[in-house]
Amino acid sequence: MARKLVSGNQAAGHTLAVAGEANREARGCICGAYPITPQTEIIEFLRAYEFTKGRVVPVESEHSAMAVCMGGSLAGARSVTASSSNGLAYMTENVFAAGYYRLPIVMIAVNRTLGPPWNIWVDQGDSLMLRDAPWLQFYTESHQDLVDTILLAFRVAEDPRILLPAMVAMDGFVTSHTQMGVDLPEQELVDRFLPHCIVPHRLRSDHPTTIGGLTWPKETEHHRIEIQRAMERVPEVLAEAISEFEEIFGRRPHGLLSAEHTEDADVILVASNSMARTLRGVVESRREAGEKIGMIKAKTFRPFPREAFESAVGKTAKVGVLDRNHSPGSGGIFWQEIVTSLRNQPDTMVQDYLVGLGGGDVTPEILHEIVDDLISRSKSVEPVWKEVASR
């Protein structure tokens, strides 16, 4: 396996390309894409890639980019795209449509602050704005996590038990533009890992059908229940995929979440994306100092793994959630989900910290401060703003 020093975008572009190419003997690969900082490098990579079957269709907007992916997927192609921030906002109508059509499209979301005011740096508010869309959502911490998760996303999304689109997120710039070493998956191994993409309800001339027509309330409710059931099957399908991944690639990616030093922990911190890596360094150093600190790296956000959180937290008294996102009038979005997950554990205090919003630099020092704050706190309060940018 080739270990390369590349940017997160290049790693994502490579993985989408080899996954698309793996479908060359079936119905190929289609990418409808529109550039936006910091995602553009992915599109450039795919545009330069010579697919045996399939291509990038340049369009005039993100809305059309997703429309192309839906068309490609309805024709049976493995369909991929990438976007960020206001591009995702503009795409939103078709993001929902792709999910409700049950099309296993894979999209890379390079997290970037939604404007205005204009800001190109990382903030998860863009992909989390789509939390109520019928999409799987995964958050990745490093280049390797990103590459592995993209491959898993194809497997889960295209599984006949699931048939839902999947979004894989990474931090804008901090991951997308940082050069790091990564094992880039080789075509041969990906061919083995990814079966041909089969969209059972694809449009066929020999069997004409209409999809997306008018439905009555009862039929609509049934449609939603089916999606909910599919979401509920994700942990099982993901676990299967991880086992097979390990067999083929020789390493075992995280699944729904990664619980580290949680068994005996007095306090647990929860983080996602690259912040989880910086947190890991902090947790390890405090463990070495004898403090009973644990962490959960949140990876799968949709479906939200409530049971996995419940069991990872166990009887731990204090949980601190690091949210690089903000739902105005409420607080951090991961925090809301975690509080819901721990609704049956009244002895656990959950405190939210809003940190690194708008691309603020999250340093180990800031995370140490948060750990100290959490330890000293006996009662949770409203989400605490860590104004990183003003330091």
Binding site: Q179, T278, S390
Partner: protein, 738 residues
């Protein structure tokens, strides 16, 4: 873990350098990170890039505040600030031609390495001269300092597909880098705690401009200049063409006339007969058609209010010999300087060749009369019918304080066509003068005119008007080589004149009721001293032929008659004659060898007048500076709409051939529309700011402003984007490299 901060400017390749450094360690099996600070990556803006290197897995992703090493890619960024937070055990690697010891005061106690990467990059043509790309070169120096081998450096360059000359440049930097541990104690500068106050929506002090002096990003800056418009440069009379055209464009015709009268007393004449080198030079002809400057000058003379003449206030008297355009111009300029001028003219009327040589259909005599009378109004005395010879000239030199000789070309060049039919041969100048006085008719004659100058054209067109049956012009070269104004040639052809090219006359003999002109065919050879092809006689049998006709008019040109001058006197345009005891004698116009146009004579007379004034008053005036000419390539023609040149109204062809009425009637206004003003507004104003404000409108930073009517640039915020320069239609704003 080792951490490195790179300080550079956008465009220098700082982020790529981070990746190059990271790659050289990555290839050794280390865990690495390379990243930049994004968003301000505009060319020239200060930016930072970072590298992390460790044997263990690197977990944190924040920006580097306390680096082990600091690398500075740009000399202008070297300041104590770059060492803030940096560990004293590491290196500061600087791109500078200076020695490390030179930084003893700036970085005491630090380990400093220097290399002149910019010169190396420029010598290897990496990037451009103004923005050399120094990253690959710096890698060599950094490698030496960090203990990376040359092989590892080359492997890193190869991994990122950098070949020659990057490798050579890096290798040279590796060898040339100088390293020193400076004496003294490291000044620990604590990382400043910036507590920036961020304005809220309802705060009163919000909206203050940020104090980021973006001018430091610039690699070039706009400057303003004044260029000489090509029309001004091309005007032999020295008219400020651009300025008078601008005044016409503003419908201020009196101001336009005033500008013209500064340099020329004969705008109505030049507005009709000038060959208009200004229009040939006009940059607008590169876009569509030149501005019709000649007709605008005529329009200004016709529509402007003529100013009240001054009266002489000096005691010195000056004699002007000859009243052609040079003499009149000299007299006018001297009178305006307050001198008492007396003109001596051999003919019966003033005006010289303008009266005798230019037919009324081109220059009506009343126009000439009016402009001469305006000159005389300045207290100029005129004595006509008074021929000045050498003896008389010497007498005058004792009566007057200075003399100006502008007697033009009095010797007529002729040709020997034999004596057999002499009566049918006539000189062109004489023919034109007799025609003017109503003493000639050519009814039903076959006329041949010999020559290719303006006199030949005037004689042929005059013969047409005097009833000739046919008029042929024979010329020994081709039409393209004719010295006559091309428009006059075209008008002669329009009026039915026939031009026979490459024909030379030999002899005239009686033939039937008229005469026969024996001619010889010519061909063109190598250019002669005039720059035109030399005509060479053909010698074959059919080279000779006879043209039947009734009259042959010779228009072969004239030369000056130097017999008026004292013996041994040398002629210099506008300059004084030497070796005399009396008043200084100056000369000008065709007499002094000018090119035969009215405008050149006006300029020559003006120059002589200035010289006379300087000689008499000792006032040398202030030396004028000449700006470079605005070439077409500095004009942004894409900012102008194409338009058609306004043409003068002409009388119909059928009325032309029988009348000496003026052929062209000038620009004619339509109700409510001044054609002249519209035509004048076509002017580009080459190289001269006319306050169009485009620079202010287009500056994306809003740093172009006006102060006391003058445009200014706020260089502290100007990023040097160059939009003002590309949007300046007339080439006034240009970008100078810093």
């Amino acid at each position: 873990m080792t951490e490195v901060t790179i300080c550079g400017r956008g465009g220098q390749g700082g982020v790529t350098l981070a990746k190059l450094i990271a790659t050289s360690y990555f290839l050794q099996g280390k865990d690495v990170q390379a990243f930049g600070v994004y968003a301000a990556e505009r060319s020239g803006a200060p930016l930072q890039a970072f590298v992390r290197i460790d044997d263990e897995e690197i977990t944190n992703h924040n920006q580097i505040k306390c680096p082990d090493h600091v690398i500075v890619l740009d000399r202008t960024l070297i300041s104590p600030g770059i060492a803030v937070g940096a560990k004293s055990s590491g290196w500061i690697v600087l791109n500078t031609p200076q020695a490390p010891e030179d930084f003893a005061e700036l970085f005491p106690g630090r380990q400093v390495a220097t290399v002149d990467a910019t010169s190396l990059a420029v010598s290897h043509k990496l990037g451009t001269r103004s923005v050399p790309i120094v990253n690959t070169t710096m890698l060599g120096a950094i490698g030496e300092v960090f203990g990376i081998t040359l092989e590892e450096i080359e492997a890193s360059l190869a991994e990122l597909r950098f070949g020659e000359p990057n490798v050579t440049s890096a290798r040279q930097a590796f060898q040339q880098v100088r390293k020193v541990k400076l004496s003294g104690h490291v000044t620990e500068i604590p990382t400043p705690q910036v507590r920036q106050k961020i304005a809220g929506l309802l705060d009163e002090d919000q909206g203050l401009p940020p104090k980021i002096k973006t001018g430091s990003w610039a690699t070039q800056q706009p400057e303003r200049r004044q260029l000489t418009p090509p029309c001004n440069d091309g005007c032999p009379a020295g008219n400020d063409v651009r300025a008078f055209v601008e005044a016409v464009g503003k419908k201020n015709y009196s101001r336009a006339l005033e500008i013209l009268l500064e340099t020329s007393p004969l705008p109505g004449v030049c507005g009709r007969v000038c060959p208009a080198p200004c229009m040939e030079a006009c940059n607008r002809s590169e876009l569509d058609e030149s501005v019709n400057i000649r007709d605008l000058e005529r329009y200004a003379a016709e529509h402007g209010e003529w100013p009240v003449a001054t009266t002489p206030w000096r005691s010195e008297r000056i004699a002007v010999i000859g009243s052609g355009p040079a003499g009149l111009s000299a007299a006018y300029q001297l009178a305006k300087q307050g001198y008492r001028v007396t003109i001596f003219e051999a003919g019966k009327q003033l005006g010289g060749v303008m009266r005798t040589g230019i037919p009324a259909y081109r220059l009506p005599p009343d126009i000439l009369d009016y402009e001469i009378s305006h000159i005389l109004d300045h207290g100029v005395e005129a004595i006509t019918g008074c021929k000045i010879d050498r003896k008389k000239l010497l007498e005058l030199s004792h009566e007057f304080a200075a003399l100006f000789v502008g007697t033009g070309l009095q010797n007529i060049r002729t040709a020997d066509l034999g004596t057999e039919a002499n009566d049918a041969v006539q000189e062109g100048i004489e023919f034109l003068d007799r025609a003017r006085l109503g003493e000639e008719r050519c009814d039903d004659e076959r006329v041949i005119v010999v020559g290719g100058g303006n006199t030949a054209m005037d004689a042929s067109r005059t013969a047409q008007r005097l009833g000739a049956k046919s008029v042929r012009v024979i010329y020994r070269r081709t039409r393209d080589d004719m010295p006559a104004i091309s428009e006059e040639i075209a008008e002669a052809l329009e009026e039915g004149v026939i031009i026979e090219e490459l024909v030379s006359p030999i002899r005239i003999t009686p033939m039937g009721s008229g005469v026969g002109l024996l001619c010889q065919r010519m061909r063109l050879g190598e250019p002669d001293e005039s720059g035109r092809p030399r005509p060479i006689p053909e010698t074959t049998d059919d080279a000779f032929f006879e043209m039947p006709c009734d009259r042959v008019i010779l228009a072969l040109g004239q030369s000056h008659d130097l017999s008026i001058l004292p013996e041994g006197a040398e002629l210099k345009d506008g300059d004084t004659l030497v070796g005399l005891f009396g008043a200084p004698i100056f000369s000008g116009g065709d007499f002094a060898g000018n090119d035969g146009t009215v405008s050149a004579a006006i300029g020559s007379g003006h120059k002589a007048a200035l010289h006379i004034h300087q000689t008499l008053s000792g006032d040398t005036g202030t030396p004028s500076t000449t700006n470079p000419v605005a070439e077409p390539n500095v004009i942004h023609m894409n900012l102008f709409n194409c338009s058609v040149q306004a043409k003068p109204v002409e009388i119909p062809m059928n009325k032309r051939r029988s009348s000496f009425a003026e052929t062209k009637l000038g620009l004619r206004d339509l109700p409510g529309v001044s054609q002249a003003a519209m035509e004048a507004q076509r002017c580009f104003n080459c190289g001269t700011c006319n306050s169009c404000n485009r620079c202010m409108d287009y500056c994306p930073e809003g740093i172009v402003y006006k102060e006391g009517g003058e445009y200014r640039f706020d260089y502290s915020y100007c990023k040097g984007c160059g939009l003002c320069s590309t949007q300046c239609p007339r080439g006034v704003i240009y970008m100078s490299e810093l």
